[in-house]
C-alpha cells in the first residue's frame, strides 16, 4: 500500500515538473522575442545616429555653431538656425504649457462628465495624432493671414504650441489620474475648495508627469519641419533676431517675436537639397545635433520622472 502511494506521488511530481518546464518555456520565448525587438530598435537608431555623426564629423567645431549659413559649405554654420529654434521653443513653451495644464486640470477636476466632455476628450486625443502639416495649414490661415502675425517667430512658436498642446493635456490628465482618491478626499475634508485642491495638491503631485509631457512635447516640436515650412520660415538667413534681453532698461524686449527666422530642421533640409556633397556634410552634422538635443531632452524627462517617483509613493 505504502509503496503504491509513493509511486503515485512520484508520478504526480513528474507531471507537475513537466508542466512547470513547459510554462517556463513560454516565459523564455516571450523574453527572447521582447529582447530581440528592443535590441533591433536600439541598434537601428544607434546606426542612424552614428552614420550622421561620422558623416558630419568634419563640421563638429565651434565655428559651425557661431557661423551664419554661407555659399561656401565649409564656412557655413547653424547660428541663425539654433538661435531661431531656441526662440521658437521659448514661445511654444510659454503658450502651450499654461494652456495645456489648465485644460488638463479643468477636464479632470472641474468638467462634468457628460457627452460634451467625452467629445472634448476624443478631440484632444485625436489632435495628438493629426499630421503636423495640417497644423501648418491651420496656422497659415489663422495666424499668418487671419491675425496678421506674419511669417515670424511668434507664428512659428504658436504653431508648434498647437502641436504640443494635446501632448501636454494628455500628460497632465494621466498624471492627475494617478493621484489616489483618498488624498483628494483628505483635502476636501478639511474644507478646501476645488481651486485650493487643484493648486495645493493636484498640480503639485502631478508636476513630474506634466513636466515629462512638456519635455517630450518640446522634443517633438524641435524636430518639426513641415508646419514651419508651411507658414513660410526662411531657408537662408544671415542675421539674428533682436536679442530678447538687453543691457539697458527695460532689459527685456519683444521685438524678436516679429522677426523672420529659420530653425534647425529647415536648415538641414535646405542643405540636403543642394547638389554639392560638401553641404551634405553640414546637413549630417545638423541632424546629429537635432538627435542629440532630442535624446538629451527625453533623458531629462526620464530622470525627472524617476526622481519624483522616488519622492512620492502612495
Amino acid at each position: 500500500m505504502a509503496n503504491d502511494k509513493k509511486v503515485d506521488i512520484e508520478n504526480n511530481l513528474t507531471l507537475i515538473r513537466s508542466l512547470i518546464a513547459k510554462h517556463k518555456r513560454h516565459d523564455h520565448i516571450f523574453a527572447g522575442v521582447g529582447m530581440f525587438v528592443i535590441i533591433s530598435l536600439t541598434i537601428t537608431l544607434l546606426v542612424l545616429f552614428l552614420d550622421l555623426v561620422f558623416d558630419g564629423y568634419p563640421r563638429f567645431n565651434l565655428d559651425f555653431l557661431t557661423n551664419f549659413p554661407s555659399r561656401r559649405a565649409t564656412a557655413a554654420g547653424i547660428l541663425s538656425a539654433w538661435v531661431g529654434s531656441s526662440l521658437v521653443l521659448i514661445v511654444t513653451f510659454f503658450a502651450a504649457v499654461p494652456l495645456g495644464i489648465a485644460a488638463g486640470v479643468y477636464l479632470e477636476e472641474y468638467a462634468k462628465k457628460n457627452w460634451f466632455s467625452d467629445l472634448i476628450e476624443i478631440n484632444v486625443t485625436n489632435l495628438a495624432g493629426v499630421p503636423s502639416i495640417i497644423y501648418g495649414l491651420l496656422a497659415l490661415g489663422l495666424f499668418v493671414y487671419g491675425f496678421g502675425l506674419g511669417q515670424t517667430i511668434l507664428t512659428a512658436g504658436l504653431t508648434l504650441a498647437l502641436l504640443m498642446l494635446p501632448i501636454v493635456i494628455v500628460a497632465t490628465r494621466e498624471a492627475i489620474r494617478a493621484i489616489p482618491i483618498h488624498i483628494r478626499e483628505a483635502a476636501y475634508a478639511v474644507g478646501a475648495t476645488k481651486w485650493q485642491v487643484s493648486l495645493h495638491h493636484v498640480i503639485q503631485y502631478s508636476y513630474g508627469g506634466i513636466l515629462t509631457g512638456v519635455i517630450i512635447g518640446m522634443a517633438r516640436a524641435i524636430g518639426e519641419t513641415a508646419p514651419v515650412i508651411t507658414i513660410g520660415a526662411l531657408t537662408f538667413i544671415a542675421f539674428l533676431p533682436p536679442s530678447p534681453v538687453g543691457l539697458e532698461p527695460p532689459f527685456i524686449n519683444f521685438e524678436w517675436l516679429e522677426a523672420g527666422f529659420t530653425v534647425l530642421p529647415i536648415q538641414m533640409f535646405n542643405w540636403i537639397s543642394r547638389p554639392q556633397m560638401a553641404f551634405h556634410v553640414n546637413a549630417a552634422a545638423t541632424g546629429a545635433i537635432i538627435i542629440l538635443l532630442t535624446l538629451l531632452m527625453n533623458g531629462l524627462a526620464i530622470k525627472i520622472r524617476y526622481n519624483i517617483r522616488k519622492k512620492i509613493k502612495w
Binding site: K112, K113, P180, H182, I183, R184, E185, A186, A187, Y188, A189, V190, G191, A192, T193, Q196, H200, H201, Y205, K311, I312, K313
Partner: protein
Amino acid sequence: MVDKKRKHPKEIIKAEANSLNFFYADGTQALKKISLPVYENKITALIGPSGCGKSTFLRCFNRMHDLYPGNKYDGEIILHPDNTNILDKRVDPIEVRMRISMVFQKPNPFPKSIYENVAYGLRVRGERNKRVLDDKVEEALKGASLWDEVKKRLHDLAFNLSGGQQQRLCIARALATDPEIMLFDEPTSALDPIATMNIEELMAGLKEKLSILIVTHNMQQAARISDYTAYMYLGELVEHDETDKVFTNPSKKETEDYITGKFG
C-alpha cells in the same frame, strides 16, 4: 431641544439625523429613514456588517457624497445649537466640512511635511501668521499625542512616519481647525494593536472637547470606547442605545445575533 419622548434626556444633542434617506448615483438606496442623535462630548459608534451603510451614513455628515455626481440626500441632519440642516442645498458643503472634520480608514497624509499636513486646514482658511500656525500645529499635535515623537522633525516628509503615527497625524490635521464633531471611518482597521490602543486612548481624551461619531468593524472597540452604539443593517438603523445596554441587554433580536457572533 428638550423632548419628552427622548430616550436619553440628560444628553445634549450636537447633531441629529431625521429620517435620512440616501441614494447613490446608480439609484441604490443605501440609507433608509435613519434617525439618530449624536450627543455632545460623547462617542457614538456605528456598527454593523459590511455594506450596511454605516460609512455612507458617516460621510453624509461632512457632505463627502457631494464630491461625486448623482448622489442624492433626502431628509435632514440638524446641527445644533444653530439648527442648521447641513444637507440643505443652500448650505455650502465647505462650511459643513469646516465645522465637522474627518479621519479616514487608511492614513492619508499629504505628501508634504508633517507641519504642512497639520497646518493645511488653517491655510485653507487663509491663516498666514506664522506664530498662529506654529501654535496651532503644536497644540493639534499634542492633542493627537504625536508632539513628542515629531517635534524635532516637523519638516520631514509625513510619509516617513509609521502607519500609526500617520493616522495620529491625520487626527492632528482634523483637530487643528477646532471642529465641533469629528468623524472616524474605521480609523484603526489598517493599524497594529499597539497603534490601535494609542488611538483609542486618544479618542477618549478628545471627547472632552468635541463630539465623536465613529464607524468600526471591531465590536470590542465599540464596546471599549463608545458611550452610545448604533447597530445598522441593510441601510436601516436597528438599534441605538447606551453602549452598555446594547452589548449586555439589546432590545432587538437582530442586534443580539450580531454582537454574539451568530451572524455577521
